[in-house]
């Protein structure tokens, strides 16, 4: 069995920052990630990030991912396990079970654990939603930006949150035609600057519209058309308002839900908080869950932006290290700075939902 002082599970923005912060304080860290490359979802974020300089604003997500991954790889205190998927946590003896390269089973025991597993895409029920050509928006981003494959020719994007708007823009950049972006809500959910960016390309955004059904091509059985209809204030579809769009790709971007399985296994106190995407753990201000020694950071702690995920990672890393007695003399200052940054990022009107959600969790 392997041993480490701090195990960080997930090498996305939160996990990378957690590993770096803990190592910087002097702790030994093992960073476990299921993918070949570190960076999590940053590896496909070709757009510039918001926030301030401290959160790498104006830098593209893909470049932030590379920067953090390189720092982690070069850090003598950080051991990286790539292609390693955590498949279980055994609370009785505190052992993490890891499948390495789909071949070996490795057991890892850590004094402290930071869970930064991120989130997965939510799906949407409608007639024929399993046809070839219907994707999650994140999947399309992976296909295009990681593998260089375009998903088709004409797209209907369902969801006008940031992911739906950004992926629509990236589809247009790749030469794929986005026929429309629809959202059942009466208002655009994503940042309005993202919405204006796609509007300038001539992509219509239709709020108060939902998908009714998808229709296959008779020969290929793949998606050929989709029908949409208007919904009223109570989200009920209005018959007679149907429109049919000829599309071979339908992207679903209706939100993310935290990948919290390990937290459940660990026996963390969980709460259903819709503002944060689903079941999330109660935690202290310093991101320790109800199970002593288990910390959370990033989307698994509540679906939010990558900028706040990075700072949460930093905060969790600092605190996990500090709890083991590690402090290079800068803990107080960095800890306070991280708390201030999170406060600032969440203090505006777009942070209201997050604030409401977190207030239900922090003890």
């Amino acid at each position: 069995m392997r041993k480490t002082e701090i195990a960080v599970i997930g090498g996305g923005p939160a996990g990378l920052m957690a590993a770096l912060a803990a190592a910087e304080m002097g702790a030994e860290v093992t960073l476990v990630d299921k993918n070949n490359n570190l960076g999590g979802q940053l590896v496909k974020q070709t757009h510039m990030f918001f926030g301030s300089e401290k959160e790498h604003a104006s830098t593209r997500g893909i470049d932030i991912g590379k920067l953090l991954a390189k720092e982690a790889q070069n850090h003598s205190k950080i051991k990286i396990m790539n292609n390693s998927e955590v498949i279980g946590y055994y609370p009785d003896d505190g052992v993490i079970g890891i499948e390495v390269e789909e071949e070996k089973f490795v057991k890892l025991k850590a004094d402290k654990i930071i869970i930064a597993t991120g989130a997965s895409e939510k799906f949407l029920p409608f007639v024929n939603n399993d046809l070839p050509g219907i994707y999650g928006a994140g999947a399309v981003q992976t296909l295009m930006n990681e593998h260089g494959v375009v998903p088709g020719n004409d797209v209907l994007m369902v969801g006008a949150g940031n992911i739906g708007l950004i992926v629509s823009y990236q589809l247009m950049q790749a030469g794929v035609n986005v026929k429309a972006i629809i959202d059942a809500a009466p208002k655009i959910g994503g940042y309005l600057v993202h919405a204006s960016k796609v509007a300038r390309l001539g992509v219509p955004i239709l709020t108060s519209y939902s998908v009714k059904a998808a229709y296959p091509n008779q020969i290929t059985k793949a998606l050929e058309r989709a029908s949409i209809w208007k919904v009223d204030q109570n989200w009920q579809p209005i018959p007679g308002t149907e429109k049919v769009l000829k599309v071979d790709v339908l992207c679903i971007s209706v939100g993310l839900s935290p990948l919290a399985e390990l937290l459940w296994q660990a026996g963390c106190n969980m709460k259903y908080v819709p503002q944060l995407g689903g079941h999330v753990p109660t935690r202290t201000n310093d991101l320790e869950t109800s199970v002593t020694g288990i910390y959370v950071a990033g989307d698994v702690a509540g679906v939010e932006e990558a900028s706040s995920a990075m700072i949460e990672g930093r905060l969790a890393g600092l605190n996990a290290a500090k709890s083991l007695g590690y402090d290079n003399g800068t803990y107080e200052e960095k800890h306070q700075e991280a708390l201030n940054q999170l406060h600032d990022l969440r203090s505006g009107p777009v942070g209201e939902k997050i604030r409401e959600g977190i207030s239900q969790l922090v003890s």
């Binding site: 757009h47 510039m48 990030f49 918001f50 926030g51 301030s52 300089e53 604003a57 104006s58 593209r60 247009m172 950049q173 009466p186 208002k187 655009i188 940042y191 309005l192 600057v193 993202h194 919405a195 204006s196 960016k197 796609v198 509007a199 300038r200 390309l201 001539g202 992509v203 219509p204 955004i205 239709l206 709020t207 900028s307 600032d344 990022l345 969440r346 203090s347 505006g348 009107p349 777009v350 942070g351």
Partner: protein, 165 residues
């Protein structure tokens, strides 16, 4: 309506159009940022003290138009691609609009392109005057295009290879 389709209304824009007197003096910034989001790189990018420091990172940018030289260093740094430089003094009949453009193929200087409004509709054609695409712009090229003067507040995108070719 901005909140429904992403296209700002005349009322939205009024809060962001530089003063007439300033427009008459030469190139100046117009930041089409209508929502309080946690973001401040426009201030960090501005070396002229024109884009004011943010008291709260969620504030919308405030501009001291007298300090703005229209240098355009902020254009490629806005993650929302919401910054434009307008020069209404370019010639008798034409103004220029400098805009961020992250699409291939890039136009060439001197090339005639379609001029699009905020809804992506073609409103005219115009010549590309200048392209800035160096290390600083970092894959967000800034295209300066000549537009009929009356369209200086209308044109916010271009299309390469349309009717204009």
């Amino acid at each position: 309506m901005l909140l429904q389709n992403g296209i700002p209304t005349t009322e939205d824009l009024e809060t962001r159009i530089p003063p007439k007197e300033r427009l008459a003096k030469g190139p100046v910034v117009m930041i089409e940022c209508f929502q309080e989001i946690p973001c401040n790189p426009c201030n960090t990018a501005c070396k002229q003290g024109a884009i004011q420091e943010f008291k709260d990172i969620n504030d919308k940018p405030e501009i001291d138009y007298d300090n703005c030289t229209g240098c355009g260093l902020c254009v490629s740094k806005c993650p929302g691609l919401a910054i434009f430089i307008i020069d209404e003094t370019y010639s008798d009949k034409e103004a220029t609009v400098s805009l961020p453009y992250e699409f291939l193929p890039l136009p060439k200087e001197g090339q005639e392109v379609d001029l699009l409004d905020r809804g992506g509709n073609k409103v005219s054609q115009g010549k590309v005057v200048k392209i800035r695409n160096g290390k600083y712009e970092d894959r967000t090229p800034v295209i300066t295009v000549a537009v009929p003067k009356e369209l200086s507040m209308v044109v916010r995108n271009i299309r390469v290879g349309g009717d204009g070719k």
